[in-house]
Amino acid sequence: MTIRPGLTACLACLLEGERAASGVEETCDTVGVLGPVVQLISSLESAEALKFLAGKEDALHGRLISSDVWSGRFQSVEISRNADCRACARRDFSYLEGDAQPHVTMCGRDSVQIHERFRSLDLAASARALLLPPNPSVTMNSFSASAFRRMK
């Protein structure tokens, strides 16, 4: 679905108004992502981007396309704007006015992202600290330091 603000339906037109999801939907963590669907969707998106960049906006398909590559089903529906949409009609951009991000657990792995915006991070010092037993090995590059512990 390609969104052009003020011209097409936006994500809030589509998703809001119903009860908010209760967090029980399937995620990449619980059901995974079938690799080929990523290629399919990125191809559709890239084609839309090229039309836009080429100035051929009348060629944008203007539809919400969904696909289940397992069953081979495709669906393409036209989405109309919600005249009373919070975001694109009333221009209440609540997500842009949000608070600082909470620390979040990253999808698909046992890690937590911590947003540190006030102190600089000394990766070399972190790597030295990680080298202490019982961590057998530490790897480091310009962007990260990693330590691996053997689990009993």
């Binding site: 679905m1 990449c28 990523v38 191809s43 998106e45 890239s46 090229l50 990253m106």
Partner: protein, 177 residues
């Protein structure tokens, strides 16, 4: 599309300008410096707060780089891990072994795909606090794929753009606090 080099010669391996879609995409006849610049810019953003909310974000830049989009800006906070390789075909085992940030790995890969375009990998999360650092106020946000396109007026114009949509930071790869 950056189909023409600064000296006006055609870049033959960029296929798009030869297609009917681009039949009116003739190069600017004027010799103004602006006409030599890339005319299009795209910023690729996975949705914030979930590294897999838009897994296709890791694949799109390849197609756009191959198409010759003149300027790509890639934002991603995540690092390549072996479990990503099953679906994120831009990355390989060495990226995962080195735990490279996805934005950095993508920039390296895309450089080798198309060396004539500007590719900028930024290791950062897109949040409501920093969004304006990456996009001018006039930018239009799209759902997962965000296109930054500076039109001559404040509204989105169907005409082709004539300049880059953002000012690149001093270094090609920028790690933000």
């Amino acid at each position: 599309m950056r189909a023409y080099r600064a000296d006006g010669t055609f870049t033959p391996w960029i296929l798009l300008p030869k297609t009917p879609l681009f039949s009116n995409a003739t190069p600017a006849k004027s010799s103004s410096p602006a006409s030599a610049k890339p005319v299009s810019s795209v910023s690729l953003l996975p949705a914030p707060s979930s590294s897999d909310a838009a897994p296709s974000a890791q694949q799109r830049p390849s197609l756009l780089a191959r198409a010759g989009v003149g300027r790509l800006r890639i934002l991603d906070r995540d690092f390549v891990e072996p479990s990503n390789l099953q679906r994120q075909s831009l990355f390989d085992e060495s990226d995962a072994r080195d735990s490279l940030p996805k934005a950095v790995a993508a920039q390296q890969k895309l450089r080798s795909v198309n060396s004539s375009i500007s590719i900028e990998g930024i290791v950062a999360d897109l949040t409501s606090q920093n969004a304006t650092n990456f996009f001018p106020a006039s930018t239009s946000f799209w759902t997962a794929l965000t296109i930054s396109k500076r039109a001559s007026s404040s509204t989105i114009s169907p005409s082709r753009t004539t300049g880059p949509g953002f000012t690149p930071p001093p270094s090609a790869v920028t790690a933000l606090p």
